[in-house]
């Protein structure tokens, strides 16, 4: 074999490797490939994910929560969201609830008090709507659209559906002017 042919073979191998490298870097990375399927819908309407349907009925901001006799303050702002949840064909429970801000930061539901509606505790029977409120903390500096995220998966949300509902909140800071604490509605079967 001439030197030229040998060099050509080596160059061909390098070219194939380079093309493979270019292809793998151009494709979405593993996290992007396995991300949850968003089930996006509007505030006040039924949004259907794989296992459940959710409707956000109301949202408000507060500086303090009143849980039983305790007052829970926050260094940010409490976002209290009213949900109506229905399992579709099988029993399920909501194990993940969070708010995503405009910068992509994700604030999960607080564990400072028990929230059975979205912390896996409340089992949803098919067709029976359960309503209640949940509370999340976000920084007072949060601006832009806050989006509610809900899933029936606990930590591994890969390739499962996740409800995404933009919340109609203007300025979260406004809540800090009102010192009154707010209560959080416990889960109950919706009428």
């Amino acid at each position: 074999m001439s030197l030229l042919r040998r060099l050509g073979a080596a160059l061909f191998v390098i070219a194939v490797l380079a093309a493979g490298h270019a292809l793998t870097t151009a494709l979405p990375d593993r996290n992007q490939q396995l991300r949850a399927f968003p089930a996006t819908g509007e505030f006040g309407t039924d949004v259907t994910a794989r296992e459940f349907t959710v409707r956000v009925g109301a949202v408000r901001c507060a500086a303090e929560l009143k849980i039983g006799t305790a007052i829970l303050t926050t260094q940010g702002v409490w976002i209290v969201v009213k949900l109506r949840l229905t399992a579709r064909s099988q029993v399920t429970s909501i194990q993940y609830a969070a708010i995503r801000d405009a910068e992509g930061r994700v604030y999960e539901v607080t564990d400072r008090f028990e929230q059975t509606l979205v912390a896996g505790g409340r089992r949803l029977q098919p067709g029976i709507a359960v309503e209640g409120e949940i509370a999340l903390e976000v920084p007072a500096t949060s601006t832009g659209t806050l989006t509610l995220l809900l899933a029936s998966t606990f930590v591994d949300h890969r390739m499962d559906s996740m409800a995404e509902i933009p919340l109609p909140i203007g300025d979260v800071r406004a809540a800090l002017d009102n010192p009154a604490s707010t209560e959080v509605l416990a889960p109950r079967v919706a009428k």
Binding site: L7, R30, D111, E114, E183, A186
Partner: protein, 246 residues
Amino acid sequence: MLAAVSVTGRGSLSRRLGRGLLDTAAPRLRMIIVVLALGISGLFGGWETVPAAPEPQHTAGTAIGGGPWQVEVLEAKVAGDMPPLRRQDENNRWVYVIANVTITAHESITLTKQILRLSGVEGLLTEEPYDMALDRDKRVIRRLHPNMTEKVVFFWEQDGDAPLPTSLTVLVQARTYREDSLSHEAKWMDDDEVAGRVTLPVIDNRAAASPSASPRPSASVTAKPGASPKPSRSPRSASPSARATP
């Protein structure tokens, strides 16, 4: 062809294979290819100098970045009974560390017990903190949120027969955001690294009847790790649960 690289020959298989391939491609250009390979590796950062390891010893109140979290270790104390936390033995005591914790990752973190470890204290019942409480309202918590700095108290239970620590070292754990070599997913990985150490004197708070400056999760404001990771994880911190509406 296969016989040329059989293991019956001298030298390792890989070396013979590599030499064989090189000889086939360019017998006289072996050196050039080596230089080329080193040059290409330089394009991807192969020639950059390794950054010097940061000095891991810090003083109290210094911000230590551990990857997804940033910690300012403030104080270390010991105390006896601290309801609603329950000791395994009346004789045991609580060693606790107060720190400001900021989540610098882009999402909330629930496995916050992984943030701190202690060194220099004998007779600790657990390596990771037994529990954590928010200084704000003395409630037991796990989850902390991005960019929302909170003063947090980390509790360890110490055997009452072990010597009372006069000083201790707090190790702020580090996590690295990188690809998991098995799943190829990028996530915060535990590479068994420590981001920094803080050595502190231990304040003995056992005599104080009502340690005002110390965390004292009050029984009226009930403490319960609500949602996660699992309420059953702290069977000993039995207390009436705080419900949204009674």
